[in-house]
Subunit: 203 residues, 2 copies
């Protein structure tokens, strides 16, 4: 598979134009804007989608039931005990998750992909891989590892002790903050990078 | 990066010899042996490591603390309430996790990698990517999505209601079984594959 650099550049221009529109409309997680700017200032890469990590409350029998899951609430910033308790409602099956950040980045060549995979891992994003290769770019997916996924109610029965909720919220917040710190570190690393340049990594 | 087919074949032979030794010594998860055989019968691939998914009880302040985590127990098959309660002990911070299967597979070419990524996704392994490219092969990592990660005790306090333990064990077992079913399906798909053959995918 050869990457067509012109096709990649066109896709890049189009994707970055879309991103500017999403930014203008306030549809991008604030926590990740600086990182996206850093990625998109690299001559060999652009971001295609991102989530900065979140705390999520959802109804489902089990995790991973993509089509039967209903999101009750989600937050991209630490939460208070009250915020959680207020929305816990009376669902028969209720789960609390802390989901890690996820980024998709499209690069112009295999050399660029290998370089970026190494940078991501060195910055603490140990889960990173090439998920697609096409004529207009190679897409890398990376995600954090800070994760919680626990039932609060199952079959209509409360699973956790009421007095334990503050401890759970504290750990959930701590995991989310660790994710955000990791994103900041990656942003710094990418900003500091003396980019190899188009001539090096795109050909 | 060009893959050297001779180097890949030598690595394949060496890795499969090691696997036979691990099998003979009983060091491979039984649940995954059939799948490894299917992978290793493909002319363009071999397995380098695997875990069939597990239920794990560990001590840690938070998940993801790789160097401060102590495994209390782990099981590759469904567990009973008694099995769990017996080992819960009095750790200050105790977590229960259901971890999905993870496979590493080394292929001989980018074409083989793209083919296998598609096969994995079509078989329900949505998380799959190329994690390294070297002269002696391209390594793909894939993992399941069935996951639970919940605290049972935090700062010395019980988090869950005693009477909720059977419900938690039931969901943990259900997630583990879903993972095992997914592995079986992948095994069937790979066995059925009319392999493209060395000439197609390795050159």
């Amino acid at each position: 598979m050869r990457i067509d650099l012109d096709a990649w550049l066109r896709r890049r221009a189009y994707t970055l134009k879309e991103l500017r529109e999403h930014l203008a409309a306030g549809r991008v997680d604030e926590d990740v804007i600086g990182l996206l700017e850093a990625i998109n200032s690299l001559p060999y890469a652009f971001s295609t989608s991102s989530c900065s990590g979140r705390i999520q409350l959802y109804e489902a029998n089990e995790p991973g039931e993509k089509f039967e899951l209903r999101t009750v609430s989600k937050w991209h910033t630490p939460i208070s005990v009250d915020q959680l308790v207020t929305v816990m409602g009376s669902s028969r099956n209720l789960w609390l998750a802390v989901l890690p950040p996820i980024l998709h980045i499209c690069v112009c060549s295999l050399a660029a992909a290998e370089h970026l995979l190494k940078t991501l891992r060195d910055s603490g994003f140990k889960r990173a891989g090439i998920i697609s290769i096409s004529h207009d770019g190679i897409t890398i997916e990376t995600m954090g590892t800070e994760r919680m996924e626990m039932p609060l109610r199952l079959d209509g029965k409360d699973i956790i002790r009421r007095e334990a909720i503050p401890l759970i919220v504290e750990r959930a917040n701590s995991l989310l903050i660790r994710s955000k710190v990791r994103l900041s570190k990656l942003e710094e690393v990418l900003k500091d990078e003396v980019a190899g340049g188009m001539d090096n990594l795109c050909r």
